[in-house]
């Protein structure tokens, strides 16, 4: 459950990250590939060297989707329906990996926001990312 204050906080954070979407997204992905090498198995078709054109573009896409989700938390399932279908029928990424990327997103945000990543912000973001991941996995079966 997210309170109204938490939802507003999430929008503020993602608004702040949107201008540096490429950097945030690419860093989170790099952290995930480095810390959890098994996640690279889903990216054999892309150049995942640090800050490659493809990593920056992919990272940007992920952050934009998160931003969109944060703006529409009460209608997450509808907003993310196309992404949901994409993950279920095309990508078929094992949902355990969503937790790994979510964790690396938290680490990336913590690095950038330092003390601004308060316990309340941390809790709200963790809840939001879990909800987001749950919607992505919703159509799997």
């Amino acid at each position: 459950m997210l309170s109204r204050a938490e939802k507003a906080l999430l929008v503020r954070i993602w608004d702040r990250m949107l201008p540096i979407a490429e950097d945030i997204g690419a860093e989170a992905l790099l952290r995930m590939f480095t810390t959890f090498p098994k996640t690279k198995t889903y990216f054999a078709h892309l150049d995942i060297t640090p800050r490659s054109k493809q990593m920056l573009s992919h990272g940007k896409r992920i952050v934009h989707a998160l931003h969109e989700g944060a703006k529409n938390i009460s209608t997450l399932a509808t907003t993310l329906a196309p992404l949901s279908r994409f993950h279920a029928y095309q990508l078929r990424i094992d949902p355990s990996n969503f937790k790994l990327l979510s964790h690396c997103i938290l680490v990336t945000l913590a690095c950038r926001m330092k003390d601004d990543f308060t316990p309340v912000a941390h809790a709200a973001m963790d809840k939001f990312l879990s909800a987001f991941a749950a919607v992505l996995a919703e159509k799997y079966r």
């Binding site: 860093e27 680490v107 690095c111 990543f117």
Partner: protein, 148 residues
């Protein structure tokens, strides 16, 4: 036996050298209780945990956070036998404290976030994160090993 590369050994030692357990420990344990409130089930005697501010300011939480974080020192000093070092601690967490080992992973992830906040993107690079998280996952595994 865990395979540590030389790079990982030095990254872990370097991280531990920079970390102040008395600072990070309290923050991490308090955050665990805020981010995952169900973990409060183990701390019913700790007094006021009713909201984020109360938890972050709670002296018993802070004291216990220091104890837990300083406990990592033995593992850093004995990378090649973390299993052995924590055998008794594992038994205690299972038989006396009845703590679900999933909580160890949970706390490890939150410690990692606190370390990231402290050192930023260059101080806590992806390679440093890899070594640090590998270290914590060995600790987590050792603490869960004596459960049956």
């Amino acid at each position: 036996m865990v395979d540590w590369t030389d790079a990982e050994r030095s990254a872990i030692a370097a991280m531990w050298g920079k970390i102040n357990p008395d600072e990070i420990g309290p923050q991490a344990l308090a955050r665990l209780l805020v981010v995952s409130p169900w973990t409060q089930r183990h701390f019913s005697t700790f007094g006021n945990l009713s909201n984020s501010a109360a938890i972050m300011g709670n002296a018993k939480v802070a004291a216990h956070g220091k104890t837990v974080m300083n406990g990592l020192d033995r593992a850093v000093k004995n990378l090649d036998d973390i299993k052995g070092v924590y055998s008794d601690l594992s038994v205690m967490h299972s038989e006396k404290l009845h703590v679900d080992p999933d909580n160890f992973r949970n706390l490890a992830d939150i410690i990692t976030v606190c370390v990231a906040m402290k050192f930023g993107p260059s101080g806590f690079s992806p390679d440093a994160q890899e070594a640090w998280q590998k270290f914590l996952s060995v600790v987590v595994s050792a603490l869960g090993r004596q459960y049956h």
